[in-house]
Amino acid sequence: MSLGLFIEQVFNGLQLGMILFLMAVGVTLTFGVMNLINLAHGSMLMLGAFLIAFATSSVKSFGLAILLAMALVFALSWTIEKVLVKYLYSKSHLDQVLATFGLSLFLNDAVIMIWGREPLFVNLPTWLEGPVQFTAEFSYPLYRLVITAVAIFAGIVLWFLLTKTRLGMQIRAGAEKREMIGALGVNINFLFTAVFAMSAILAALAGIMLGPMLSVQSGMGEPLLILSLAVVVIGGIGSLKGALYAAILVGLVDTLGRMVWPNLLGAIVGNIVSNAAIYILMAFVIAIRPAGLFGRRMG
C-alpha cells in the first residue's frame, strides 16, 4: 500500500466523517432537545439530493440552485414539524419510531411519484471539477475537498450558533434540562420547530453535497441515517462533542477498513467485515460504556 493511497483514503474517511457529522448533529439534537427519535432524518438527506437535482436542472447558477434547494427543504421541514412531528414529542419512543418510520416510507414513495424510479444525476459546474495536484504523484478531486471544507464550515457556523447566540443558548439549555427552559418562559414551540428545521437543513446540506457523487434515488438516505445512528450511539446520545469525534472515528474506520480487511481476510470475509465493522465497533463501545463515549449515564 503506497503512502499516496493511504493519504487519499484518510481524506475520504474524513469526508465521510464530516458528512456523518452533519447527519448526526440533527439526530442528537432532536433527541437531546425534543426527546424525539427521528427515523425520517435520512429522508431529509434524500430530499436535499433530489431538490439539488431539480434545482440545477431549472436554475443556471449552481450557487443559486443550492440556495433554492435549501429554502425548499426549510419550508418542507417546517411544515412537516407543524403538521406531524410536533404531536410526537409527548408520545412514547415506540410511537415516535413508528410515525417517523411511516414518514420516511411516505417521503420515499413521494419522490418516486414526482421524479420516477430512475436515478437522477447532478452535473457539477466546471469550476468544481477536476483534481487538485498536491505533489507530482498525489492528486485529489477538488469537489471532495470542497465537501470537507463546506462541512467543516457548517460545523463552525453551528458551533457559533450554539455557543454565541441566544437561540443556541436556549437549545443547549433544552438539551440539558427540557422542563426547565419551558418554566423559564422560553417559547418552546418555536424553539422545537427551529431545531427540527435546522437539523433537516444540515441533513439536506449533506444530501446536496452527496448529490453529484451518488446516484440520486429514493431511499438513498437510509444507509447514511443508520450509520449516523451508530455515530450517535458511539458518541453518546445528546452529546455534540461526542457526535463530532464519533463521526470522524466512524468515517476513518469505515473507509480505511474497506482497504485493509479484504487484504487481510480475503475478498468475501473481508467484504463482510468491512461492511459490518462500524456495527462491531458500536457493539464494542456499548459493551464497555453503555452510554457511549461522551454520554451521560442514562437514568
Binding site: F31, I37, L39, L84, Y87, L88, K91, H93, L94, D95, Q96, V97, L98, A99, F101, G102, L103, S104, L105, F106, L107, N108, D109, A110, I112, M113, E222, I226, L229, A230, V232, V233, I237, I268, N271, I272, N275, A276, I278, Y279, I280, M282, A283, I286, A287, P290, A291, G292, M298
Partner: protein, 302 residues
C-alpha cells in the same frame, strides 16, 4: 374471543378450498403473525423496542435456503438448525443490547440486524444483494412438502398455534411474572433479590427462535431467499404489526399481521405506491388509534 374463534375457523377452512391465492394469503398472515408475536414478547412484555427482529427472521430464511442448496431439505433438520442458529445469535445480540434500554436498545438492535444484512449481502456465492431462488422446498414425510400451498398453510398455522401456546404458557408462569414486574418496576424486582437481566435474555432468545420459524416458512412461501428479509424496513413492518394490533397482548399482533397483509394486498391492487399508503396509515395509527386494533375489539385493549 368470538372474533378470534371466527378468524381461526376461517384460517383453517380457507386452505381446504382449492384456491391458491387465498391459501397463500392465510400462509402469509401466519408467517408474519409468528414474527409479530415473537417480537411482541420483546416489545410488549420485556418493554424494549427492538428494531432488528428481521435479523432472526432472516436467519430462518437463510437457513432454509442455504441448507436446501446443500441438499438438506428435511424439515426436522431445517427447523432445528434455524432455531439453534437463532438461539445462539439471539442470545449474543440480546446479551449486549439488553444491557441498555430506551433509545440505545432501538439503535443497537437495528445495528445488529444491519450487520446480518450486510453479511447476507456479502455472501456472493448465494447471490449477494439479489439473493437466490430456493432450490428445493422443505419436506415433510411421505411426499408432503412445503411447495404445496395447502401443506405450507397448515404447517404455518400449526407453527403459529405452537408459538402462541408457548408464549401464553411462558407469560403465565412465574417466569413471565418476573418479566412483567421488571417491565413495570425494575427497581422493586431488584430489591426483591431478583435480577431481571437473565430472565429478559431468556425471553429475548425464545423470541429469536420463534421468529426464525416464521423465516423458514417465508422462504418456502416466496420460494426465494434475499437480504430484503433482513432489511430494517422488514423490522419496521414487524413492529408496525405489533403496534397495530396492540403491544403487550399475545393475540393482538396476530390481528395486526392479518390487517397488515390484507391492507398490503388491497392497496397493491389499487396503486403501485403501497409504501406511500403504509406510511400514511402508520402516522394515522400513532396520532389517532391510541390502543391498537385490540382496543377496538375489547374494552381496555388487554
Amino acid at each position: 374471543m368470538w372474533t378470534f374463534g371466527a378468524i381461526f375457523l376461517l384460517a383453517i377452512l380457507i386452505p381446504l378450498f382449492d384456491h391458491v391465492y387465498y391459501t397463500k394469503l392465510v400462509t402469509r398472515i401466519s408467517v408474519f403473525a409468528i414474527a409479530a408475536v415473537s417480537l411482541d414478547l420483546v416489545v410488549g412484555f420485556v418493554g424494549r423496542v427492538s428494531l432488528g427482529h428481521a435479523a432472526f427472521f432472516g436467519i430462518g430464511v437463510y437457513s432454509a435456503g442455504i441448507l436446501a442448496n446443500l441438499g438438506i431439505t428435511q424439515i426436522w433438520i431445517v427447523m432445528p438448525v434455524a432455531i439453534t442458529l437463532a438461539a445462539v445469535i439471539g442470545c449474543f445480540i440480546g446479551a449486549i443490547s439488553l444491557r441498555t434500554s430506551g433509545l440505545y436498545f432501538i439503535f443497537i438492535t437495528l445495528a445488529f440486524s444491519q450487520m446480518l444484512f450486510f453479511t447476507a449481502q456479502g455472501l456472493r456465492m448465494y447471490g449477494g444483494d439479489d439473493g437466490f431462488t430456493l432450490p428445493a422446498a422443505t419436506k415433510w414425510f411421505w411426499g408432503f412438502d412445503l411447495s404445496q400451498p395447502r401443506v405450507l398453510a397448515y404447517t404455518m398455522i400449526a407453527a403459529l398455534i405452537g408459538v402462541v401456546y408457548i408464549a401464553q404458557r411462558v407469560m403465565g408462569s412465574n417466569f413471565g411474572k418476573v418479566i412483567l414486574a421488571s417491565r413495570d418496576n425494575p427497581r422493586k424486582v431488584n430489591s426483591m433479590g431478583l435480577m431481571p437481566y437473565p430472565y429478559q435474555l431468556t425471553l429475548f432468545t425464545i423470541s429469536a427462535c420463534m421468529c426464525a420459524v416464521g423465516g423458514v416458512g417465508y422462504a418456502n412461501l416466496n420460494e426465494y431467499v434475499s437480504p430484503a428479509s433482513i432489511s430494517w424496513i422488514q423490522s419496521g413492518e414487524f413492529l408496525f404489526m405489533v403496534i397495530l394490533g396492540s403491544a403487550g397482548t399475545i393475540l393482538g399482533p396476530i390481528l395486526g399481521a392479518a390487517a397488515f397483509v390484507c391492507m398490503e394486498q388491497v392497496f397493491s391492487t389499487w396503486t403501485e405506491y403501497w409504501m406511500f399508503c403504509l406510511g400514511i396509515i402508520l402516522m394515522l395509527r400513532v396520532l389517532f388509534l391510541k390502543r391498537g386494533l385490540m382496543g377496538l375489539i375489547t374494552k381496555n385493549g388487554q
